[in-house]
Structures are given as structure tokens and as C-alpha cells.
């Protein structure tokens, strides 16, 4: 039968020809088809076309891996030749030209998009911290910041305390006292940080028309209201049309035109009541709208029951200090010790579907993440991390030596026994901690103070 030519009805279809060329047919089917092709010119042409399609498709798919050099900024060129095994642990670097190795972008795990996002977040954090500092700084320093953040001499710092005010500039006593009163009001509504500067004057009781909002978003709203109060209180010396600027937390603050700072310029004493009321209503509406989706800084304590549990090279428990932002967008996070000390790790907090969360590790030379499930009082999930340059070697070692917190005591016992035998035979790990995969829990805490 195999020697007889097929009739028209038995010509193989295109799928069968591709399966034959992909060596996916049984021996009998392949032999029969080969015999037919030998005697059928039309099918020979179809087979030749199929070979071309297979080869062409393979070349096109392979082109997806090819990123040509010279298309990145000049400063990144020096990193191009730093090695190809960026994250794969193997000689075949993915997404990089084998001839020139991996790129600095990929080695740092900092994509251009993430770098731009991180820069935007840093700017927003700087603005937010500038306004936050007005609630805890001494009156003169804070007054300067509150009046004109753009002209502030206070150095950028991540700590809300310890703002270094510059007392050499002339002060406006009336403005200072007005801002000081409102700072005191804001301090009365907040309990996060204690003021470290000189004592402020006794503040009048908070307005009964303003209720103290709760939670992280409430802090932002409180700041905005404080700024609003400051703007209204200091209307005699500030033009009644100072532009309002909103930071990422939804707080609204006024930005003083530089020409009016400390000049003692006196605006018209009687600002129209309707205008002020309209501004207040607009500000409240804006704050309500933005604060609904805005979240302030928050902290999570992440713990693991495993012995010698670490994320990259940092031992658990860890505190994830998540930057302010919007609830449904990724936010940068600092990784702290429970004592509030900053570690060398950075992370990105990214909400996922179903209220789960992905926390990506950012540390040169390491790859890792923490996947947390939905919130139910606490979150539970899995943390994984590895040294980037030695994945293959360290995986074998790590999973032979790592203790896992599993419910199955028998399996746990066997695993504990296995490492004792496996460890001596495993290849010595490369520099840095091995691949680790741990069960973790996470719960919200107040952010620790260093």
C-alpha cells in the first residue's frame, strides 16, 4: 500500500505535512506519507512550501530575542558587555545579544518605564514629605515650608523630623503665628509623629464643622484642611488667589508666589465671602474625590515561621514601608527591619486581581518576589528570592537545605533529614544566599520609627 500513489482524496492536508516535518507522526504514518510525497509532484511542492514556512516562522520568532546594540543611551553601553546570564543562570541569555551579553537595564531589573515611574513617585514623595514636615517641624521652619515649598531651604530628607530650618531669612510674624495655630490644629488631629522643634503656641479648639478623619487617607485630608485653614487665616497677607497644588495623597496646599513671601504685602482686608466660600467648597470636593482612591504611607510586618528565613540577604521579619499613592497602582516600598532601620532592599508593591498582591524585590544582584493572597485580617503568601548570577547552582543546594514550614510533619521530617545528606554532595553555592522559597504572613502595623 505504501508503494501505491495516493489518489486525490488521500493527499495529506497541510496540518499533516507540518506534523510530518515536525516529526510528530508515528513511524507508519510517516513512512506512508513519505512514500506518497516521493511520487506526487503537487505534494512535493506543498512540502517544500511547508519547510519554508517552518524555517521562516522560526527565524521570525528568533528575532524576538534580538535586541540590537546601539539603541540604548550611551551611558548604558558600558554595561552591555557585563555578561549574558542576567537572571536565567544559563549561558543563553534571553532577550540579549549573546555577542555582547546582558544590559545594565536588565541586570538592575530597572526598566525605563519603572525608572520613570520611580522618579515620578520620588518627586511626589518629596512634595508630600515637604507638606508633612509642616505638621511636625518647629514653627519658623515649618512656616517657611508651608508658605512656599518651592523656595524651602529645608534639605530633602526621608525623616519627617529633624528639618533643618534656616533662621537667617526674615520672618513674617503674623504669618508665622497663623501657620503655627494651624499646625497645632493639625498636630492635634494626628498621632503619628511627635514634634521635635520648639513648642508651638496653644492652639484654639478644632473647628466643630471639621470632623477628624481616620486612617492614612484621613491624614492626607487633615493636611489638606490644615493648608486650607492656613490659607484662609493668612488671607490678610496672602493674595486671595494663591494657586492650589495637590500632592499625591490628595492633600491640597497652597503655593505662594515667591514675590509675596515675607514682603509684608497686605491684600485687601475684606476678601469677598462668596469667593472664599466657593474656594472652600471646591477644595473640599477635590479632597473628597482624590482621597477616595488615595492612600498614605503604610507598613506591613512580614514574618516567616521558617528557621533562618531570609528575603535576598535580609532576615525575616521584615517591614515593608509602602509609599503613598493610589490604591490600585504599583507603589515603591522600602524594606526596613522591625526596629525601623533601612535595609539595602527596595521593593515595589503591586496590587493584583482578586485582592492579591505582588511585591517585587529590587536589589542589584538578586531576583525575588512575595506573592500575598487576599486580605482577611492578615495576608499569607510565598516569598521567593535568589542570587541572580547563580540560580542553577543554588537552586539545587537551597532546596536540599531549606526548612519548609509545612503542615505535613512527616514530609518536613524527611526534608530535614535530606539536607544533611544532600548538602555535602551539592556543589558549593556561588556568592550570596541560595534560592529561597518561604511561606510568609503579612499584617498591617504602624510604621516603625528609626
Amino acid at each position: 500500500m505504501t508503494d501505491e500513489p495516493m489518489d486525490a482524496a488521500e493527499h495529506p492536508d497541510e496540518g499533516l505535512i507540518h506534523a510530518w516535518l515536525d516529526d510528530a507522526l508515528s513511524a507508519a504514518e510517516a513512512q506512508r506519507l513519505a512514500a506518497h510525497v516521493r511520487t506526487c509532484a503537487a505534494c512535493q511542492a506543498r512540502v517544500a512550501e511547508a519547510r519554508g514556512l517552518i524555517a521562516g516562522a522560526s527565524r521570525i520568532v528568533a528575532a524576538l530575542d534580538d535586541v540590537a546594540p546601539g539603541t540604548r543611551p550611551g551611558w548604558a553601553q558600558s554595561a552591555v558587555s557585563q555578561g549574558g546570564a542576567a537572571g536565567t543562570g544559563g549561558p543563553s541569555s534571553i532577550g540579549a545579544d549573546p555577542a555582547r551579553g546582558g544590559s545594565l537595564w536588565r541586570l538592575l531589573r530597572v526598566t525605563p518605564g519603572r525608572a520613570a515611574l520611580a522618579a515620578t513617585i520620588l518627586v511626589a514623595i518629596g512634595i508630600t514629605l515637604t507638606y508633612e514636615r509642616t505638621a511636625v517641624d518647629s514653627a519658623p521652619s515649618a512656616a517657611k515650608v508651608a508658605v512656599n515649598p518651592r523656595q524651602s531651604d529645608v534639605p530633602a530628607t526621608t525623616s519627617p523630623e529633624g528639618a533643618a530650618g534656616d533662621a537667617s531669612k526674615p520672618r513674617d510674624a503674623l504669618l508665622d503665628s497663623a501657620v503655627a495655630r494651624n499646625l497645632a490644629m493639625a498636630q492635634g488631629q494626628r498621632s503619628v509623629q511627635a514634634a521635635t522643634g520648639p513648642a508651638v503656641p496653644v492652639a484654639p479648639p478644632p473647628s466643630t464643622t471639621l470632623q477628624a478623619p481616620a486612617g492614612a487617607a484621613g491624614e492626607a485630608v487633615a493636611l489638606g484642611r490644615a493648608a486650607d485653614e492656613a490659607r484662609r487665616e493668612s488671607a490678610p497677607v496672602i493674595a486671595d488667589r494663591a494657586p492650589a497644588r495637590r500632592d499625591v495623597t490628595g492633600a491640597t496646599a497652597s503655593v505662594m508666589p515667591e514675590s509675596q513671601v515675607g514682603t509684608g504685602v497686605t491684600a485687601p482686608q475684606a476678601a469677598p465671602a462668596a469667593s472664599a466660600e466657593r474656594q472652600r467648597a471646591e477644595g473640599a470636593a477635590m479632597m473628597a474625590k482624590t482621597s477616595a482612591n488615595a492612600v498614605g504611607k503604610s507598613c506591613l510586618l512580614i514574618e516567616s515561621a521558617d528557621a533562618d528565613a531570609r528575603w535576598a540577604d535580609q532576615p525575616f521579619p521584615l517591614v515593608l514601608a509602602i509609599d503613598p499613592g493610589t490604591a490600585d497602582a504599583p507603589r515603591d516600598a522600602a524594606v526596613l527591619t522591625p526596629a525601623g532601620e533601612v535595609t539595602s532592599l527596595r521593593a515595589q508593591w503591586a496590587p493584583r486581581s482578586g485582592d492579591s498582591v505582588l511585591v517585587r524585590l529590587r536589589r542589584i544582584g538578586y531576583s525575588g518576589s512575595i506573592v500575598l493572597g487576599p486580605f482577611a485580617g492578615t495576608r499569607s503568601g510565598t516569598a521567593i528570592s535568589s542570587n541572580v548570577a547563580s540560580l542553577e547552582e543554588t537552586v539545587t543546594t537551597a532546596y536540599g537545605t531549606q526548612a519548609r514550614g509545612r503542615a505535613d510533619a512527616g514530609r518536613a521530617e524527611s526534608r530535614r533529614a535530606a539536607p544533611a545528606a544532600a548538602a555535602p554532595a551539592a556543589a558549593p553555592p556561588a556568592a550570596g544566599p541560595p534560592v529561597r522559597q518561604l511561606r510568609v504572613t503579612a499584617r498591617s502595623i504602624g510604621c516603625p520609627q528609626p
Partner: protein, 172 residues
């Protein structure tokens, strides 16, 4: 449950091809590694995995599908920034590297023009998965894998050639 030792073997064997498959699928290496990592995390939760390679690729494909919208936004942003980067690049690319970059862009556009099933089948085949594995990963019948691949290859070639002609016409 999959033991840590078994996972280590799976990781060592399939991490590289899985990341490459995902990189080709997504056009984003970082995203590919994250999804690959999540795939292996999920493997830990399995009691047993009969056909490991097809299971891993199937889970990875499902994760890509779940994150398709977010991945599309990331790719768009990267493309925009890359275009800006190239405009500001201090290095003048050589003609051959420009051609390769154009090839890659055209390849990316062509592969995105395929249907999702065709695209996944083709990329899995390019990673060396057999017809049985592809059928299991994509829930296809074995007999239909060849048809799927032939269609995917033909459409990919046609799309690529069409894009190439458009590109050449614009440059002319």
C-alpha cells in the same frame, strides 16, 4: 505536593526555556521572569504534575492571559520610552544593528497579529514542546496541533511580509 527537590529539578530544567517562551510572548523580560517565578510557585502547590513541561507552559500561558491587559500597558509604555531613548541616544547605531532592531519590531508586531491560541502553540513549538505537550497545555486534540501550527506559521509569515512591505514603502 511537589517536593523542593523535585522543584529544584524542574527549575533547573525549565526555567530558561520558560522565560524565553514568556519573553517572546510578552516582549518584556522582566514580566517574563515574574510570571515564570509565579509559575514555579504554583507548581509547589500541586500534589503531582504528570506532564511537567506542558503543565508549566500551560500555567504560564494562563498567567499571561490573566495579565494580558497589564502586560499590554507595560509594553506600550516601554515602546514609548524606548523610542524616546533612541532619539536621545548618544550612540549612533550601525546600519546592521538598525536592521536587526527593525526585524525585532516587525517580528513583535507580526506575532501579535496571530490569534492567541495560534501564537501560544507556535511559541511552545519553538521551545521544543512536542505535539502531545502542546495539546495538553492548550487543551487541543492531538490531531489539531499540526493544523494549528501550520496556520500559525503561514499567518505569521504573511503578517511579517506585509509589515515589511509597509515598512519599506514608508522608507522609500
Amino acid at each position: 505536593m511537589v517536593t523542593p527537590e523535585r522543584l529544584a529539578v524542574l527549575f533547573k530544567t525549565y526555567h530558561t526555556p520558560l522565560v524565553r517562551f514568556l519573553t517572546r510572548r510578552l516582549g518584556d523580560r522582566d514580566e517574563a521572569e515574574e510570571i515564570a517565578q509565579e509559575t514555579f510557585v504554583r507548581a509547589l502547590k500541586q500534589e503531582t504534575i504528570a506532564s511537567e513541561r506542558s503543565w508549566l507552559f500551560a500555567v504560564a500561558s494562563n498567567l499571561v492571559r490573566d495579565d494580558a491587559r497589564r502586560a499590554a500597558r507595560e509594553r506600550k509604555r516601554h515602546d514609548l520610552i524606548r523610542v524616546r531613548e533612541e532619539a536621545e541616544s548618544a550612540v549612533e547605531p550601525e546600519p546592521t544593528t538598525m536592521e536587526r532592531e527593525e526585524d525585532r519590531v516587525l517580528a513583535r508586531q507580526a506575532i501579535e497579529m496571530l490569534g492567541e491560541r495560534d501564537r501560544e502553540a507556535l511559541l511552545m513549538r519553538e521551545e521544543g514542546l512536542g505535539y502531545e505537550e502542546i495539546a495538553e497545555a492548550l487543551d487541543l486534540s492531538l490531531a489539531s496541533v499540526g493544523t494549528t501550527l501550520s496556520r500559525a506559521r503561514r499567518r505569521l509569515m504573511e503578517a511579517y511580509e506585509s509589515l515589511q512591505q509597509e515598512h519599506s514603502a514608508k522608507r522609500a
